[in-house]
């Protein structure tokens, strides 16, 4: 009776399972809580290790899906969405006995219970022998989220355990499988940019490299264009990788890069910082004697603040600042606004399709070296700016015209939030 009562309680918060080969969407909410139940601690690992590994396992699903997971050690048990515990033989009131060392190492129930056979030799990540608790936990959480066994080499949802590869991660197909159930990761960004830096090869040559970054509030992702995904383990807090810029986020990034100048700026509110790429931190004072942060009105006379976003156009050596529905073209050489600016955004970036235009309040203006194109991002959409090659092929296209919008998550993949409590693992 107790179990049925619990089941009816929980099943109210769960979608009915309509099993399909690709699985079923098990939860209708996006933030789920979990707990390692007190009567289910393992006798092989410290409790802290167990909780750390589960926190990491949930975070790995969060990094590739719109779901967020938070550990909850206080709510009544029936309010906990996913309950994890270890046991041996007949365990934790479960109908399916464990079989001892070997063979079955864990199972998951669709109502959110995950049991681990403590007769198995579970180990912490990256320990050669034994069974990786992290890998098993990610697999079983996949079941609770609604994924069935998937017989594809490389899938984390394969029924049999494959000894831990050194860097176990979720591959493309597993990401798409969970996104097929819960959708892609959508959301607006504060700024997007390619960070250019010079590196010396082992032969002493100087090469130019770039990496793509997406920033949202106080965290960021490095986007690996060649792999169509974010870096494993992202997002991370801003201050981890960008020393000295405001911890809770920036409005814009601008890289002025010409024959005479190479300066990286971050903008926030009425101020801006210059970034020292060599030493990976903001300048306190730069070689021209400027102290930072500085006022935008001082560094860029005629430009209002705060701004929505900005980017540097190497074609005409102007910085384009965006605020509401106006664009301010700033000449770096003349150190003042270009003639005739500010202008309405539709005049500077006219729509190719008249009804398809962001009409101002741009979140991010991004020149991508990967695509050799400028993108204007607003909300979950982006518009690509017509480039010279486009106009060479289709001369009727307007200069700096905006092509019809597309969805950000269909062009840059798996840029997913994690719960703030899981941000610093």
């Amino acid at each position: 009776r107790k179990k049925e009562h619990l089941a009816s309680l929980i099943s109210k918060s769960r979608r009915k399972r309509d099993l399909t080969p690709t699985g079923h969407m098990a939860f209708s909410k996006k933030v789920l809580n979990w707990r390692l139940i007190g009567e289910g601690y393992s006798s092989q690992l410290t409790i802290e290790d167990q909780r750390y590994i589960f926190r990491l396992a949930f975070r790995m699903w969060s990094e590739v899906s719109p779901l967020e997971f938070v550990e909850d050690t206080h709510a009544p048990l029936e309010d906990v969405d996913i309950r994890l515990g270890f046991g041996t033989g007949r365990h934790l009131g479960c109908n399916q006995k464990f079989d001892g060392t070997g063979q079955e190492f864990a199972h998951a129930w669709f109502l959110g219970d995950i049991h681990f056979d403590d007769d198995e030799h579970f180990t912490t990540p990256n320990v050669g022998s034994g069974i990786s608790l992290l890998k098993v936990a990610v697999h079983e959480i996949g079941h609770v989220l609604g994924l069935p066994h998937i017989y594809r080499p490389g899938s984390i949802m394969q029924p049999s355990y494959l000894p831990q590869e050194s860097t176990f991660e979720m591959d493309w197909m597993d990401r798409k499988a969970i996104q097929q159930l819960y959708g892609g990761c959508k959301g607006r960004f504060n700024t997007v940019f390619d960070w250019i830096r010079k590196e010396k090869t082992p032969y002493g040559e100087v090469v130019i490299r770039f990496n793509t970054y997406f920033m949202r509030d106080g965290w960021y992702w490095l986007y690996e264009n060649r792999n169509n995904r974010t870096r494993y383990g992202d997002p991370v807090p801003l201050q981890t990788g960008w020393h000295g810029i405001p911890m809770d986020g920036v409005d814009a990034h601008v890289h002025v890069w010409s024959r005479k100048r190479d300066a990286v700026y971050f903008f926030r509110g009425t101020q801006f910082w210059r970034y020292d790429s060599e030493n990976d931190q903001v300048f306190g004072q730069d070689s021209e004697g400027h102290q930072y942060p500085r006022l935008i009105s001082e560094g860029f006379p005629g430009v209002p603040s705060p701004i929505d976003t900005a980017f540097y156009d190497r074609r005409d050596s102007h910085i384009y600042f965006f605020k509401n529905n106006l664009v301010y073209a700033f000449s770096v050489e003349a150190n003042n606004l270009a003639r005739g600016f500010p202008k309405n955004i539709r005049d500077v970036f006219p729509p190719v399709v008249n009804t398809d235009h962001p009409d101002g309040n741009i979140d991010a203006a991004y020149f991508s070296y990967t695509h050799n194109a400028i993108f204007l991002l607003k909300g979950i959409r982006f518009w690509q700016v017509v480039g010279s090659r486009d106009r060479w092929r289709r001369p009727f296209l307007p200069r700096n015209g905006l092509l019809p919008h597309k969805e950000v998550d269909q062009h840059w993949f798996d840029i997913c939030n994690v719960h703030p409590t899981a941000l610093k693992l």
């Binding site: 179990k3 049925e4 089941a7 009915k16 399972r17 309509d18 099993l19 006798s43 041996t88 033989g89 007949r90 479960c94 109908n95 399916q96 006995k97 464990f98 079989d99 001892g100 060392t101 070997g102 063979q103 079955e104 190492f105 864990a106 199972h107 998951a108 129930w109 669709f110 109502l111 219970d113 049991h115 007769d119 198995e120 069974i131 098993v136 697999h139 079983e140 079941h143 069935p148 066994h149 017989y151 080499p153 029924p159 049999s160 355990y161």
Partner: protein, 156 residues
């Protein structure tokens, strides 16, 4: 912590030595195939709430033994064997093994690997729970029946 009775905990090792029963012959292979839904899809949802000692408890052996013993007539046993072979082939197929239909060494090895306890083959939601009318249930039975008929033709 591991249960022990001796002052020096020397008995935890023996307690710990409870090993999963290895899959060594057709009989235990049949257990495995049945447990993970290769012989007949498992309604995993219900297992969680059925009273204890259901088909997945330790008495699983007796239950299956009873089932196998029931099938005394040649017709049943032949049918059973056919079901076993097609289940074995399905397991070999999804495991990326040569589909021989024989309980060979490679299959035995794969069955004894550490694995997740969630069945590989789960039933869809029972038709009855989706449609209340009786005839649709009959329909689904007829469906199953026609499927079995096909199998018995194969046997015949």
């Amino acid at each position: 912590e591991k249960l022990f009775h001796n002052r020096d905990h020397s008995d935890t090792q023996t307690l710990n030595s409870h090993r999963a029963q290895a899959i060594t012959d057709k009989y235990t292979a049949e257990l495995f195939l049945s447990r993970y839904g290769f012989i007949k899809p498992v309604n995993w949802e219900e297992v969680q709430f059925e009273e204890s000692d259901t088909s997945f408890s330790g008495d699983f052996l007796n239950d299956l033994q009873a089932t196998i013993q029931e099938g005394t007539s040649g017709y049943n046993r032949q049918n059973e064997n056919q079901a076993f072979i097609s289940a074995l082939k399905e397991f070999q197929r999804v495991s990326g093994l040569p589909v021989t239909g024989v309980f060979d060494e490679a299959t035995k090895l794969a069955m004894n690997k550490p694995r997740c306890g969630v069945p590989d083959k789960e039933t869809l939601l029972k038709i009855t729970s989706l449609n209340s009318s009786h005839d649709s249930r009959l329909g689904s039975q007829m469906g199953n029946f026609s499927e079995n008929a096909h199998q018995s033709e194969a046997v015949r």
